[in-house]
């Protein structure tokens, strides 16, 4: 009896309390961050200068930015850093010099290899060149820890050069976005893909329905109009109805 009361009145609340604390506490991490809340993270600093490298520490398993599916998939916590595997394009994203070992690299232009990345709003509208964002040689891989393009500091080192106060969230805007109509986009950027389909069906549906509706309508009304215009003709032609119309005269020249 007593032990059951002990269980109910002491142990159970304590266990629940501990469980609650365990849920609320940040998960165990290999490195300590200066901001302990995993929800707010850098939020209060994001709109300031953007520079907080003094306090910067290595991120935990999850990177401190809102995920874009493609980028997150590229970063695998399991696969180690392998500089030897430089020939694989996927692994190049973690190299200090991502173009190391490419033949005649000095003579080539970016868009010869990066065809998909060439035309986008920043180059077409903003008149930017690749290097204005990606920097000079050596161009580090995007996931190389000390790269300015690394998502943990990209907003401060790249975006904020023009977009004053750019934060981590802002930097997840996809400059080199996949084509919305491409089936592969369903996996890499699902919301864009489905929005594209929704708007496509809306435009085609609305225009097809009302286009057809209006075309038939105007056509039919014009047809009736012409028919009505044609109708009185036989009456005019018959001499019994209005013969004076047929006779040319000073008042009624034909």
């Amino acid at each position: 009896m007593k032990s059951r009361r002990l269980l109910r009145e002491v142990l159970l609340p304590v266990a629940l309390g501990l469980l609650g604390i365990a849920v609320l506490l940040p998960a165990p991490a290999p490195a300590q961050e200066e901001v302990t809340s995993s929800i707010r993270r850098y939020k209060d600093k994001e709109l300031s200068t953007g520079y907080y490298e003094e306090y910067e520490v290595k991120p935990r398993r999850l990177r401190p930015y809102v995920g874009v599916p493609e980028v997150q998939r590229r970063y695998s916590p399991v696969a180690p850093y392998r500089p030897g595997a430089a020939v694989e394009p996927g692994v190049r994203s973690r190299l200090e010099d991502s173009h190391a070992g490419i033949q005649f690299y000095e003579l080539r232009r970016c868009e010869e290899c990066h065809v998909q990345e060439a035309g986008h709003s920043h180059t077409v509208r903003g008149n930017l060149t690749c290097r204005q964002c990606h920097g000079g040689e050596p161009i580090a891989g995007i996931n190389y820890y000390f790269s300015p393009m690394n998502p943990i500091r990209r907003h401060a080192y790249v975006c904020a050069k023009c977009h004053e106060g750019a934060g981590i969230s802002f930097a997840t805007f996809k400059i080199h976005e996949p084509k919305a109509g491409d089936p592969a986009t369903r996996k890499t950027f699902a919301s864009l893909y489905y929005t594209n389909w929704f708007m496509y069906l809306l435009i085609v549906g609305t225009m097809a329905f009302f286009g057809l509706h209006t075309l038939i309508w105007v056509g039919k009304e014009t047809y009736h109009f012409i028919q009505e215009k044609m109708k009185p003709k036989p009456q005019i032609e018959s001499p019994a109805e209005e013969p004076e119309n047929e006779q040319p005269g000073p008042d009624n020249p034909l």
Partner: protein
């Protein structure tokens, strides 16, 4: 025109709202298309007409805010217009633009008439396509306004949600704007200008009044209802003066020409449109 019996259809506020949305919509269409097609010589020319890409953008933003203000004023206007003490009757009467079951029936009847299977539908005050026109703007304007405001302040707004949402919003904004332009420049212009009874121009949105005899054929139930309620006499108004007709004919046709010019260029440069 002036010696015919005319009854009032739109009050001065309705007409002002329409002229307001005509001017702002056209400005948005021109500045927006100039920037959308900035990768073509035509788009550059249009944007340069407004002083370049950045200036066209700021005009687009300012006019967009004006449109949102106009929309809010319109909401206040319709909220004030509803008789809230008898809201059920006020909202769902034939004088209201709220869709009714009859509209669906009219649409079906219209298609039966297209196929020669029956008489054309007899309309009350608002036909289903007029209601669709109204509600299309009513849904399009908040969507374009909201996405536009967010895209106007990308850095601040990306504190509220991830930045890649802006990619989706750009697509939404452009696609919805293109749908609006196609609908207005093709369907709305055809219905307003090319229909047999309307041919040079459907003047009622500018003049505010319609010819009674014409309306007796187009919307017999409305006229019958006015007659039954004894309100037909008080609905009669004099026709628009000659100078005013000249003014709105010029204005209407100027807008028509600009709209068709944009439409043609949308089709010419359709392959250069970046949807997002």
């Amino acid at each position: 025109m002036n010696n015919q019996v005319r009854i009032i259809r739109f009050n001065i506020f309705d007409r002002l709202f329409h002229v307001f949305i005509m001017v702002t919509f056209l400005l948005q269409a021109v500045t927006g298309l100039g920037r959308l097609l900035y990768n073509t010589a035509w788009g550059k020319g249009v944007a340069n007409f407004f002083g370049g890409y950045d200036r066209a953008t700021s005009i687009h933003n300012t006019v967009g805010i004006l449109m949102i203000i106009g929309f809010v004023i319109h909401i206040a206007y319709i909220l004030a217009k509803v008789e809230w003490k008898a809201w059920r009757r006020s909202l769902f009467s034939p004088d209201s633009l709220v869709p009714r079951l009859e509209d669906a029936k009219h649409l079906g009847q219209k298609f039966r008439w297209f196929l020669g299977l029956g008489p054309p539908p007899a309309f009350d005050r608002w036909t289903y396509w007029e209601k669709f026109d109204y509600w299309a703007v009513f849904w399009g304007l908040p969507l374009l306004g909201l996405t536009g405001i967010i895209l106007m302040f990308p850095v601040g707004m990306s504190r509220l949600f991830p930045g890649w949402v802006l990619n989706v919003l750009v697509l939404l904004h452009r696609a919805e704007a293109l749908l609006a332009m196609l609908y207005i420049f093709i369907i709305h212009f055809t219905i307003g200008h090319l229909r047999r009874g309307m041919f040079p121009m459907n003047e009622c949105m500018f003049a505010g009044s319609v010819e009674l005899e014409k309306e007796r054929q187009e919307k017999p139930l409305w006229i019958a209802r006015l007659q039954k309620d004894g309100r037909l006499e008080e609905a009669m108004v004099p026709g628009p003066p000659r100078w005013f007709r000249l003014l709105y004919f010029t204005f209407g046709y100027a807008v028509l020409v600009v709209g068709l010019y944009l439409l043609i260029n949308i089709f010419l440069y359709r392959n250069f449109i970046e949807w997002h």
